[in-house]
Amino acid sequence: MYLFKTEITENRQLSPSISCLRIKAAEDFCRKAAPGKFVMLGNDNELSDPLLKRPFGISNWGNDWFEVVIKIIGKGTAQLARLRRGAAVSVNGPLGTGYPPPTCATCDNDNETLILVAGGIGIASIASCLLPVAANRYLKKPTVLLFGAAVENELVLLDEIKQSTAGLRIETITDDGSSGRRGFVTDLLKNELENSTALTFACGPEPMLKSVQQVLRSYNAQGYLSLENRMACGFGVCLGCVQAIVGNAGKGQNAKVCTQGPVFAADEVIF
């Protein structure tokens, strides 16, 4: 982990409530970035409201920059999303354990499909498997992105993703049918699992992750979920973020989402 003060080099508004901030960073930091890892981000004005830094996935990065995609929820995100080029920010990161690398034991079958499931702003985390040049190794597998959102204008980042990863199949769905099909992203997931053995990575709100877990179970399919528990520190000292997971001998135990996660094997998580 690094702690540093740096600055915003670009703020692109992707939708009325979603912005993408590009942030300057040292090469060391960028080398340690990986799909599914995150940062704790705070403004740097020495005031105490909001007090805590906020966790955001590292959606994309290069040699000396990274990007976060922020959806405005409350006061912290409202303040950060408003920051303009040149504004100072404080960063702790890269933090956490991200998606399993394509070379890991459960992931090295290049014939199975990689299904990326994003619900709403969950795309910010999923994008980290697609946008960064350094992440392209995932795409040795046939890959599909299933992206569900409440309304059409929350289906952000699709242009960037199409550009960075040619040949990616993308299916979208919205709660209100304003774009793509009408319904939930798990409906799309069921379709995919009917047709192929696959490895699934999913990120989105907890109810969605719960139903992804159920779908994966019912198809006996492997997958990983990226969780969004509340965090105070982001580096394993406050115990604020713990999630019950299946531990040794099948007994439930607490895992720190910030260090052992945010990505967990879907089977492991006890919702």
Partner: protein, 303 residues
């Protein structure tokens, strides 16, 4: 060069008056990779109990204006695992270690204290008498002068280690408790623990925290902490360690000025894990600019 050494209990001399508060610095390991934790005055461990504890279910943290609520519920790895798995690293790093302890009853406290008495590498115990879930005959130890004094006396019997008793701010008269605890044999006091608060999730119409109430910490509580430290430091002869919302060197200096022999940094660690170091440097610079030879000349010099 200003001499920053302070004695926070008989024989417990720290290289500087900046400690990290229990529950906000883990067991030190989390920081050891990228910060030299031996440069701190001391680290105080997460509260440890005889057996491991899983803590509270549900949401454990909520933010409030300039503060945060936590309802961790004292999750910890247990004293045995601490001694076997964590302490060796801390010793190897040369860090001054203070162990924060709590129990379900007086016997538990005494048992942990006795156990730690046998262990090398521990400089003092901090007794957390303000655990919201831990009661003596229906009353929290930390809110009843009598129960607090009895508890401290029992721990005093069980160990030769220096004892720091950590006081709860959720009381009518913290001075009365401080005096009783000092008389019962505590070598020092630390204050304050968190203020009891609550947050609700308006749209869900539910308490936000799994445990309904939680402990308020951070800059929001600083004025209350400073008042209590000032009052207690005037009333007792033993060292008082100030805690509560300290986020800058100036905050720390205010507590020292008001009579604290040292300070603990809590919530601020979460926002900036390097803050304790910055505070040490800030204290040094401030005193140097004002030609102090030693920090002890500054402590308690409020007019």
């Amino acid at each position: 060069m200003v001499d920053l050494k302070v004695e926070i209990a008989p024989g417990v001399i720290l290289r500087n008056p900046v400690l990290t508060a229990s529950g906000t610095f883990g067991y030190g390991r989390e920081y050891a990779d990228y910060l030299d934790i031996a440069e701190l005055g001391a680290i105080i461990t997460k509260g440890l109990s005889l057996k491991p504890k899983t803590g509270n279910p549900g949401v454990r943290i909520a933010e409030s204006a300039c503060g945060m609520l936590n309802a961790i519920g004292l999750e910890n790895i247990g004293i045995d695992s601490f001694i076997a798995d964590e302490l060796p690293l801390l010793r190897a790093l040369g860090t001054t270690v203070i162990v924060n302890i709590f129990g379900n009853n007086q016997a538990d406290y005494a048992a942990i204290a006795a156990k730690l008495d046998q262990v090398e590498g521990i400089s003092a115990l901090e007794i957390n008498i303000s655990c919201p879930n831990v009661k003596a005959g229906g009353i929290q130890f930390g809110t009843d002068p009598e129960a607090a004094a009895n508890l401290v006396a029992a721990v005093r019997q069980a160990t030769t280690l220096p004892l720091i008793t950590k006081l709860s701010p959720n009381v009518t008269d913290i001075v009365a408790i401080a005096e009783r605890v000092a008389a019962a044999g505590s070598d020092a006091l630390s204050l304050i623990n968190t203020l009891m608060g609550m947050a609700v999730d308006l749209d869900k119409k539910q308490p936000l925290l799994g445990n309904v109430t939680g402990g308020l910490s951070g800059p929001a509580i600083k004025p209350v902490a400073l008042r209590m430290v000032y009052q207690v430091a005037q009333a007792v002869k033993i060292p008082v360690i100030g805690i509560g919302g300290i986020s800058t060197a100036r905050d720390a200096l205010e507590f020292l000025l008001a009579g604290a022999a040292a300070v603990e940094i809590g919530t601020a660690n979460f926002i900036n894990p390097g803050i304790a170091y910055e505070i040490v440097t800030g204290i040094r610079d401030y005193l140097e600019q004002r030609n102090y030879e030693k920090v002890t000349d500054f402590i308690g010099s409020l007019q």
